[in-house]
């Protein structure tokens, strides 16, 4: 459960960063960003676990 929450938190942060950094916000950009942020959130959690050793 905590894993799902952590991935969700990473996904929210990464999608937020995407929305800040793109030049124009439209529905296609939002969809691409949200979709790309999901695997990236999984990788972020994996990387965090490697760094903290838990």
């Amino acid at each position: 459960m905590s894993g799902v929450l952590e991935v969700l938190a990473w996904w929210l942060v990464l999608t937020g960063v995407w929305l800040v950094l793109i030049s124009t916000v439209d529905s296609l950009e939002v969809m691409v960003g949200a979709a790309a942020a999901l695997p990236t959130a999984l990788v972020a959690r994996a990387a965090r676990r490697v760094v903290t050793g838990r």
Partner: protein, 151 residues
């Protein structure tokens, strides 16, 4: 003096500070040169942000963003080659004083919105990168962090 010229004058400060820093990159002990290299990427980012405003080219902000991510990363990679991450109070102080001094006026100029959020993100990255790489880490600390995985 127009407002654009004011921003360009601000950009000149970190740009001129780069001259002695780049000289230092090319001289002296490897640890000192690594600190100077670290400082040069910070100053480069700080010069690009007001330059983007002064020249009216928002794309320069993207270059500062890339620099704020890759600068500290490069420093950490070189620190790994050297076997030591030299701490530097100068880098930390330059970031803690210089980044707010330049980013906050730019935020006021940008007004609330995504542009301001982007500037704050870049500022946070510049400070975080400089604090992490300026904190330093000796050989013993690095060996312990690696868990003896590297030779």
């Amino acid at each position: 003096m127009r407002a654009d010229d004011g921003w360009l004058a601000v950009a000149l400060v970190p740009l001129l500070a780069l001259v002695p820093v780049l000289w230092r990159v090319s001289r002296g002990a490897p640890e000192d040169r690594l600190i100077a290299q670290n400082l040069s990427s910070l100053l480069g980012g700080l010069a690009l942000l007001p330059a983007a405003q002064g020249f009216g080219r928002p794309a320069y902000v993207d270059v500062a963003l890339v620099l704020s991510v890759l600068g500290p990363t490069g420093t950490l990679i070189y620190a790994r080659f050297l076997g030591v991450l030299p701490g530097s109070r100068l880098v930390r102080r330059t970031a803690l004083l210089g980044v707010p001094a330049i980013v906050l006026p730019l935020c006021v100029a940008a007004g609330p919105g995504r542009a301001m959020a982007k500037l704050l993100l870049i500022g946070a990255l510049l400070i975080a990168g400089s604090v992490v790489t300026g904190a330093g880490g000796g050989r013993g600390r690095k060996a312990a962090a690696d868990g003896g995985r590297t030779a």
